[in-house]
Amino acid sequence: MKYQIAILAENKPGVLTHVSGLISRRAFNIETINAGYTEDADVTRINIVVDANDETELNKVIHQMAKLIDVIKIVNISELASINRELVMVKVKVTSSAIRADIVNIASIFRAHIVDVGHENVVIELTGEQDKLAALIDMLNCYEILEIARTGPIALSRGIIPVKNM
């Protein structure tokens, strides 16, 4: 079972290593991890998707992470009503104008953007939930995908209460 976890931590060198090191040491699999600035300059938000057997296992790792000195708050977003997004960029090889037209079509159906076009390639950008991303990649697999970069999902809870006040 996959869980989306939001971690608020002091914006200090090494904090990401601390968090990821602890998770791997306790034998959990990190599916994705990303970090970024927040509304507070001193605080980093780390978004992690971990694979755990069940909620008890997950709570163990949450308890361990809560012990890290730099960690301010940890919330299991999966158990809340939330909005979940990921961004992907896909570079596809284009050998004919027919293929280019196909790909532009697919992109528009998915409401994706063509963000770069070259003589032999296009780059498509799509933001959405993971199944939507998977569907797009599945379609593009009919052509030659040169490379893919994705951010990993980030999530915000619905409603007025931010994670830091939970």
Binding site: G14, T17, H18, K60
Partner: protein, 551 residues
């Protein structure tokens, strides 16, 4: 103020009077400052690992953070085993390492290692100092962290140039942190726990090292007495409960007393206090949990539900929690359970024959030091288990051993730190095997140089007994790398440091040697040359803790 002087001032501010360490290029400015200061005692070890173990020993004995300093690169990496040992046993320590100059960082400079990164998983926190003006703030924070909640080691890595910088020394606002009052939820849990205790028919207490670090021995005794509860201790919990108390069932675990292990296995309610249900305590977790109920009391909330699913978890100060749990009126209907426990005790009565074997040697040590002011420090291996089984301890901080990490070589350097803390009030009996002595035996130099009155008992069976035992049980008696065919003379070895030694080959000789050693207040070593044996009992860890291997 110069950085190094500020560090010394900050150490004093935190009541540090002893520092352990080993010099090297990048930490020399701090050594220079220490040398010019007369109020902090510096203990020079023979190896950084030993300096860490000594600071660890000092902390275990005093309850205050042990301070240890070393240089960058090899100095810092040599500390690692010592830091990990302290981390696993929740011992408060401050480790200061020198680092290459700021402008040389990240260039693979001479003696540069990323000790901050290396120690990340084995410290409560590591600091990598970047700016001089943070020095004092960081050091204060390090002391605060090492001491707060579940204690542990904290490392501060300082580039050499910062020792020379002019640093601000802000005023110290000592904020006495108020202990959190139990909230409503907590009180409900506590009430439920009391109900469980009163309802159970076969309750038992497992007392761990947390009772000692939480200074809750008195509360533990009162709590057990109030509800007439039997008490077993873990390896780290020895000394938390008086061994001659009628409620005491002994040491439980892989090599624990049979009666203690059976009592835990048969219990319907386990009250674990300051113990983390380590695998050497529980064996196969499914067998262990069985149909039991659990009350888990620990200062670290992350321990609750980590290894055993507690029915009730109470995270917080053990002293306060035990006081909370004593508010109910006791109903004593445990007669049947106590009959069973006494039956177990009788079946398990160890008969001391006086024969020349390690259990009898340990028993003699126990009888000799009995209630006198002595502290027992062990190394790791067979002798450690025999000591845990046969040496009785009555007070906290009179038993020291490496529990979680099981660090061979821990004993001798730790004994140095402990003896330095106890000065002449409490004499240290150090027990080790011949294997461990070859690891950190160089500390006899420190012992001799400082004339520390440690009595060192070396159980010399010319083998790595515990490894040999594992090979006997699990590897078809194929002994490999565990028997020392090449003989060495331990008496001459220790004697070469200028320490009186006794080379012992019989029980009579041992009795005489120990009494001689005790009569003179200076370093002594007794080499007990003895046959290879196996430590019994040994539980079958994959079955229940009440099943035992036959030798």
């Amino acid at each position: 103020m110069e950085g190094s002087a500020a560090i010394i001032k900050c150490l004093k501010e935190n009541n540090v009077d002893t520092v352990f360490g080993y010099p090297g290029g990048m930490i020399l400015p701090l050594f220079d400052a220490l040398g010019r200061d007369e109020s902090i005692k510096f203990i020079l070890s023979t190896h950084e690992q030993s300096a860490a173990h000594a600071a660890d020993g000092y902390a275990r004995a005093s309850g205050l953070p042990g301070v240890c300093i070393a240089t960058s690169g090899p100095g810092a990496t040599n500390l690692v085993t010592g830091i990990a040992t302290a981390f696993m046993d929740s011992v408060p320590m401050i480790i200061i390492t020198g680092q290459v100059d700021s402008d040389l960082l990240g260039k693979d400079s001479f003696q540069e290692t990323d000790i901050f990164g290396i120690t990340m998983p084995i410290t409560k926190y590591s600091f990598r100092l970047r700016k001089a003006d943070e020095l004092v703030v960081v050091l204060r924070k390090a002391f605060e962290l090492a001491n707060a909640g579940r204690k542990g080691p904290v490392l501060v890595d300082i580039p050499k140039n910062l020792f020379f910088c002019d640093v601000p020394y802000p005023k110290y606002n000592l904020q006495k942190r108020e202990t959190d009052r139990p909230d409503a939820d907590f009180l409900i849990c506590a009430a439920e726990a009391q109900k469980k205790i009163l309802q159970s028919h076969k309750p038992i207490i497992i007392a761990g090292g947390g009772v000692i670090f939480g200074q809750a021995s008195d509360e533990l005794r009162k709590f057990a007495e109030k509800y007439n509860l039997p008490v077993v201790v873990t390896l780290m919990g020895i000394g938390s409960f008086p061994a001659d108390h009628e409620l005491y069932m002994g040491f439980a675990g892989l090599h624990g007393r049979k009666s203690a292990n059976c009592a835990v296995a048969e219990a319907d309610l386990v009250i674990a206090i300051g113990s983390r249900f380590g695998d050497r305590q529980t064996g196969n977790i499914t067998e262990y949990v069985n149909d039991k109920h659990f009350i888990h009391i620990d200062i670290d909330p992350a321990e609750i539900d980590k290894n055993v699913h507690s029915s009730i978890g109470l995270a917080g100060d053990i002293k306060i929690i035990l006081a909370l749990l004593m508010q109910q009126k006791a109903v004593d209907d445990l007669a049947k359970w106590w009959n069973r426990l006494n039956e177990l005790r009788k079946e398990d009565d160890f008969e001391y024959t006086g024969a020349y074997d390690v259990p009898n040697v340990m028993h003699h040590i126990s009888q000799t030091i009995n209630r006198g002011d002595y502290a027992v420090v062990t190394d790791v291996g067979q002798h450690q288990m025999w000591a845990a089984q046969h040496i009785e301890r009555f007070k906290p901080r009179t038993w020291f051993t490496s529990g979680g990490l099981g660090t061979m070589g821990f004993g001798l350097p730790a004994a140095v730190g402990i003896q330095i803390y106890y000065k002449h009030d409490r004499r240290v009996i150090h027990i080790a095997g011949d294997g461990g002595i070859k690891m950190t035996g160089s500390e006899y130099y420190t012992i001799a140089a400082l004339n520390l009155p440690i009595i060192s008992v070396i159980i010399n069976n010319e083998s790595l007994g515990m490894i040999r035992q594992l090979q006997k049980v699990f590897y078809g008696t194929r002994y490999f790398s565990s028997e020392f065919k090449y003989r060495m003379n331990y008496a001459e070895y220790v004697n070469s440091f200028g320490i009186d030694t006794y080379d012992v080959h019989s029980m009579d000789e041992f009795v005489e040697a120990l009494s001689n050693a005790i009569s003179e207040n200076r370093p002594k070593a007794i080499i007990v040359n003895i046959d290879k044996e196996f430590v019994e009992p040994m539980t079958k860890m994959d079955c229940g803790i009440n099943t035992f291997i036959k030798f």
